[in-house]
């Protein structure tokens, strides 16, 4: 399916502390993406999206809000890997002749659902109560995503000598990007001293290793490359995609330090004919700093175990070897489970950013999505149309 399909439109909702419902956020992003492409709502004949986990047949709710009946419609459940998988499923559905123009997206009001007002957090977990583990977790005080991921960071530090300063380089690089993005939630510079002196959450992770609790949504319009070229925006070609799932679980084998990105990368590079050295910008699922380090290794941007020195070299900065998460990522822009990474990958390839935000001469972007109990992964490789 290389070079047959494209992303013709993309947008985000309002980000941060919106007070909005999850479905409303996604509707806002979807309507903006349709406008961005220069399409009408009635041009959409497919919906592929992931809802908040507690919404049944989420895609149908979105069709109802948009006011359309469609040919192909489904929700998917692959955690933070869903957002890229939705684009892949959209391509497959078009390829199968089931539809022509698919809207994908994800939205969640993570801040609004956990806070009663500006200052008061009323709920710790984003996961609905009935989906939380009932044993082998609460009795040990094992709660929250930071600890799960920190287990992997600890093992990575133990095996490869990775340091907290190296994780800090990830947080600081993404904060620098966020300061150039007016929509980003985080507005203040972050120094290494700030990073190291921040309180621990689940050690080795401190506050700035953890992604934001923020509201937000993003959406894309997937159609044929031929059609995309006739629309308003510069078409962004879907070169290829991949997916892999370490379904046996995070704590099995070496899954914590050698992630499902490895298998997903292999597929995506093969489909696209792209190799790591061809990638001009990466948009990596950054739920936590250490996950960025592990994925960069798994994608082959550096050798396994050398992710720490790689990020510490300044590689992720806008003028670095691999400008990464150039809108600030989930650590500093907003955490929308990988959806904003897709949006940013597309935007960088349009070359419509002001020069201070633009990755110079960006022709190829790699986007990663990760989740589903930390073991599901998907990859999207995009390129600027000639």
């Amino acid at each position: 399916m290389r070079d047959k399909y494209a992303i013709a439109g993309t947008a985000t909702s309002d980000l941060g502390r919106t007070g909005m419902d999850s479905l409303a956020l996604l509707e806002q992003a979807m309507r903006r993406a349709i406008d961005d492409a220069g399409l009408k709502v009635s041009d959409i004949d497919g919906i592929v999206c992931r809802g908040p986990d507690d919404v049944y047949t989420h895609h149908q709710r979105m069709g109802a809000r948009l006011g359309i009946d469609v040919r192909f419609s489904t929700s998917l459940d692959n955690g933070g890997a869903s957002q890229i998988l939705a684009v892949a499923i959209a391509c497959m559905a078009i390829e199968a002749g089931l539809c022509t123009t698919v809207i994908t997206g994800y939205g969640r009001n993570s801040w609004t659902r956990t806070h009663a007002n500006e200052g008061k957090r009323v709920k710790m977990e984003l996961t609905p109560d009935d989906q939380l583990p009932k044993e082998f977790a609460p009795e040990y005080g094992y709660f929250g995503a930071p600890a799960t991921h920190a287990l992997g960071a600890r093992r990575h530090m133990y095996e490869y000598g990775t340091t907290r300063e190296q994780f800090g380089a990830v947080a600081i690089a993404f904060r620098e990007h966020a300061l150039r993005n007016p929509s980003a939630v985080m507005k203040k510079p972050l120094t290494m001293e700030d990073y190291l002196s921040a309180r621990y959450i689940a050690e080795p992770y401190g506050l700035y290793d953890c992604s934001l609790v923020s509201d937000g949504a993003g959406a894309t319009i997937v159609t044929t490359l031929e059609r995309a070229k006739s629309l308003r925006q510069p078409a962004v070609i879907i070169k290829g995609f991949g997916t892999f799932n370490n379904t046996r679980g995070w704590i099995y084998d070496d899954h914590m330090i050698r992630t499902a990105a490895e298998g997903s990368a292999k597929q995506a590079f093969a489909m696209s004919g792209i190799s790591p050295k061809d990638v001009d910008t990466a948009q990596i699922y950054d739920c936590f700093t250490g996950m960025v380090v592990a994925q960069l290794e798994d994608y082959g941007f550096c050798k396994k175990g050398e992710g720490g020195p790689f990020v510490a070299s300044g590689a992720l900065r806008l003028d670095g070897a691999l400008p990464t998460n150039t809108s600030g990522g989930q650590l500093s822009e907003a955490h929308v489970e990988g959806m904003l990474q897709v949006v940013e990958g597309v935007r960088q390839l349009r070359h419509t950013y002001p020069v201070e935000r633009q990755v110079k001469d960006a022709e190829v972007a790699l986007v990663s999505g990760h989740g589903g109990n930390t073991v599901c992964h998907s990859t999207l490789i995009l390129a600027r149309a000639a």
Partner: protein, 136 residues
């Protein structure tokens, strides 16, 4: 007036109930495949290694090592307010399975990956025991 929040107890499933019942007798019991002898935990209908569906609950040595661990500083549940900092670890048992537990009986800063540990049984409340691990 403040009401004390009770520490959470595990809620056994139909499949894990024999495990928790054995823990109350201070035994670590897990299903072992009658064909390939692989120990599987948590339990499944058939062996994930060989698909055989006949298991025998067998007693584990209680020895293992810390595969990885974190130190909680943030209080996620009010009952753990006085417990921080505490260690949550993935413990790899000698027989193979990896389980979530706590490492206890030592300063949190001395816990290490690959450190050898052995099981201890600690009361959560009301006489209910859960397995934890200590350095050996």
């Amino acid at each position: 007036m403040m009401t004390a929040v009770e520490l959470p107890l595990p809620t056994p499933s139909i499949e894990t109930e024999p495990f928790w019942a054995a823990v109350q007798e201070r035994k670590l019991m897990m299903p072992t495949c009658n064909r390939c002898r692989k120990v599987t935990f948590p339990p499944t209908v058939a062996c994930p290694a060989c698909s055989n569906d006949a298991f025998t609950w067998t007693q584990m040595s209680g020895r293992g090592k810390v595969f990885s661990f974190v130190v909680y500083h943030r209080v996620y549940h009010p009952a753990f307010k006085d417990k921080v900092p505490y260690v949550v670890a993935v413990v790899e048992l000698e027989e193979g399975p990896r389980i979530i537990s706590n490492v206890v009986g030592m300063p949190v800063e001395d816990v290490q990956c690959d450190m050898p540990v052995t099981v201890v049984y600690e009361e959560v409340r009301d006489g209910y025991l859960i397995p934890k691990f200590t350095q050996r």
